[in-house]
């Protein structure tokens, strides 16, 4: 995982993908890598797991060697346009960006290419050894990962077409990119994960994902002989584990992360997560 340039973390909403992304970023940082963590969604999930209130488009150093940023599409677009076109005058520039944004709302893949393009541009930078992305949830990530391919189908001329080719190559490159799919041992996350694995295998836009089963309860041996409250706890625990086994059987996970008990803040969760990942990798 840590020898890649780009780690994308996705999963159904609520499975803990921000926690895993933060855990990977912190782990990489502890191993001395220069890391950029990117938050794609508006929920501030990654920010909270990195102990921050919120993040901005400009990366800030959240701990030594670990920078973090929040993806803002309009900013990414402005940056792209200024690099590509060297337009003078910020007033007009804003209008150009808005016009482009309007196009991006209506045109498939144009919108996604701006953000996935910004990510891949950072991957190319010498500043970072590893870029970790708290990516959009499973239901939306397809349009991002496919954007470079679909854009070359949609755009026949235009400068973006040429750029989309190296983007597609980087995403599909096994030595550069890893996708972690976080799931729980529950029906809906397992079904979504299986669906995603299916289309990824078909399209090969990214290498085969690493599947992570999160919040896995420890198993209980037979014959504990509890009584009172402990028996109630054992009973709940056992029935949760039996449900869990059923869905784990359908998931074929590469890694299992334990359910963490009694933690209060997202930052605590992320710290434990990086310890668990460390032990596993």
């Amino acid at each position: 995982m840590l020898d890649k340039r780009l780690v994308l973390v996705s999963g159904k909403g609520g499975v803990g993908k921000s926690a895993v992304a933060a855990g990977v970023a912190i782990l990489a940082q502890r191993h001395g890598l220069r890391v950029l963590a990117i938050e794609m969604e508006t929920g501030h999930g990654l920010a909270a797991h990195l102990g921050m209130h919120e993040l901005a488009f400009d990366p800030i150093e959240v701990r030594p060697g670990l920078h973090a940023m929040h993806m803002v599409r309009s900013e990414a677009l402005l940056e792209y346009l200024s690099l590509q076109l060297r337009l003078p005058g910020m007033g007009r520039f804003g209008a150009v960006a808005r016009a482009f944004d309007a196009l991006a709302t209506a045109a498939p893949a144009v919108r996604e290419i701006v953000t996935i393009g910004k990510i891949l541009w950072e991957v190319r930078e010498d500043r970072w050894d590893l870029v970790v992305v708290d990516a959009p949830p499973t239901g939306q990530i397809a349009s991002y990962l496919r954007a470079p391919t679909s854009i070359s189908e949609l755009v026949t001329t235009g400068r973006i077409r040429g750029q989309s080719e190296w983007m597609a190559e980087t995403l599909a490159d096994q030595s550069a990119t890893a996708l972690m799919m976080v799931s729980l041992a529950e029906e809906l996350p397992v079904m979504e994960t299986r669906e995603a694995l299916g289309w990824i295998a078909d399209t090969e836009v990214v290498p085969k994902p690493t599947v992570i089963a999160n919040r896995i309860l420890f198993e209980l041996p037979e014959g504990i002989e509890s009584s009172g409250l402990v028996a109630d706890m054992e009973s709940l625990h056992r029935s949760l584990v039996s449900d869990q086994e059923r869905w784990l059987a359908e998931l074929s996970a590469d890694l299992r992360l334990p359910k963490l008990f009694g933690l209060f803040t997202p930052a605590e969760v992320a710290a434990h997560m990086s310890d668990e990942l460390e032990a596993m990798l």
């Binding site: 007009r92 309007a102 196009l103 498939p108 349009s143 420890f218 504990i224 997202p266």
Partner: protein
């Protein structure tokens, strides 16, 4: 009058199960209830009797006061075109590749479609109570602002951005030399794409009057609804619930209550490892006591900071798969005032 309850909260907290349990209990109490849900787990859909996934409300075969329906946001987004545009334009829109892209890209469009469908059920006046399990898109807050965002979208914000001025006629787009930003877009995207998008946006604009007036109706329905925020005591969903409590009063109304799903019995918090326990028993006790303790703290903090009514729903070992299971879950909920939550019977 039909009462509406909007059930919001972040993904994975059991919003759909809570909505279903509320609906089942309301129906048991004689309230004609429709539960509108998005993407339920298979077994829950079975329990609600909507296994064949229809977006038309279906009566439950065992509970005469209960109906259930699935929201189909893709379908009702298509309905935006057929309902609000001329037949000829509607056909052109439905075929347009950008129409589909815009429905996927514009997060508000899915929420709008869901809100539109839910409002239609409320306005039908066929039920005493409509419980809406809101889609989790964009944090759920989106659901409340979608009607105005949608009107803004089709009303030409995109067109104005393209032109940087007043709304243009069709000819405008062919006069590219006068518009540097269109030349920029040409350079990057190619001119053919730009033309196709412009045609599409001009067609879309013809739906504006319809979408705007429908949007006002939907907003009225949403503003009169009761809101429940569902969460667990896990840090991430809890942060989301806090955000709802901060933001909802300004854009909709103060939530009626926060529902802590998967709550553990409060006496577990005091459980301690005792002499004679095996290591695994000790681990069991430590783990669940710590979890219970944290849940209690989370509820207390929420109640004191936001003055929120707290409803707890117990952690049921496996998710309910039938009517009886949902009934049991509703019966085990604490802190809930059914009289306040449900419409009074004498109106029906």
């Amino acid at each position: 009058m039909t009462k509406t309850i909007l059930v919001t909260g972040s993904g994975g907290v059991g919003k759909t199960t809570v909505s279903a349990a509320l609906g089942v209990e309301a129906a048991r109490r004689g309230v004609r209830t429709l539960v509108v849900t998005v993407d339920p787990a298979r077994r829950l859909a079975d329990a609600l009797g909507i296994a064949d996934l229809g977006d038309e409300p279906q009566p439950h075969d065992q509970e005469p006061n209960l109906w259930a329906a699935m929201l189909d946001s893709a379908g009702s987004w298509r309905a935006v075109a057929t309902r609000h545009a001329d037949p000829e334009v509607a056909l052109r829109l439905a075929d347009n590749e950008f129409f589909k892209a815009a429905s996927e890209h514009f997060p508000a469009s899915q929420s709008y479609a869901a809100a539109d469908q839910a409002a239609t059920f409320v306005q039908a006046k066929a039920w005493d109570l409509v419980i809406v399990d809101t889609p989790p898109a964009a944090g759920g807050i989106d659901f409340f602002t979608a009607p105005s965002q949608m009107a803004d979208l089709v009303g030409g914000r995109l067109l104005r951005w393209l032109t940087g001025g007043p709304l243009p006629g069709r000819r405008f787009f062919y006069d590219r030399a006068a518009r540097p930003m269109l030349r920029v877009a040409d350079t990057i995207l190619g001119s053919d794409l730009l033309e196709r998008i412009s045609e599409f946006l001009l067609d879309l604009r013809t739906t504006y009057d319809g979408v705007a007036s429908r949007g006002r109706e939907i907003e009225r329905v949403l503003s009169e609804a009761s809101i429940l925020v569902v969460t667990t005591a896990d840090p991430a969903p809890l942060a989301e619930a806090v955000r709802f409590y901060r933001q909802l009063p300004a854009i909709a109304s103060m939530p009626d209550a926060v529902v802590f799903n998967r709550s553990l019995p409060s006496e577990w918090a005091n459980a301690q490892t005792e002499v004679g326990m095996t290591a695994i028993q000790g681990r069991l006790v430590d783990s669940w006591a710590a979890e219970t303790l944290r849940q209690g703290d989370a509820r207390e903090e929420f109640a004191s900071r936001y003055g929120a009514n707290i409803i707890t729903v117990p952690w049921s070992p496996s998710s309910p798969v039938d009517l009886a299971g949902l009934r049991t879950l509703a019966g085990a909920a604490e802190g809930i005032s059914w009289e306040q939550l449900l419409p009074s019977q004498d109106q029906s």
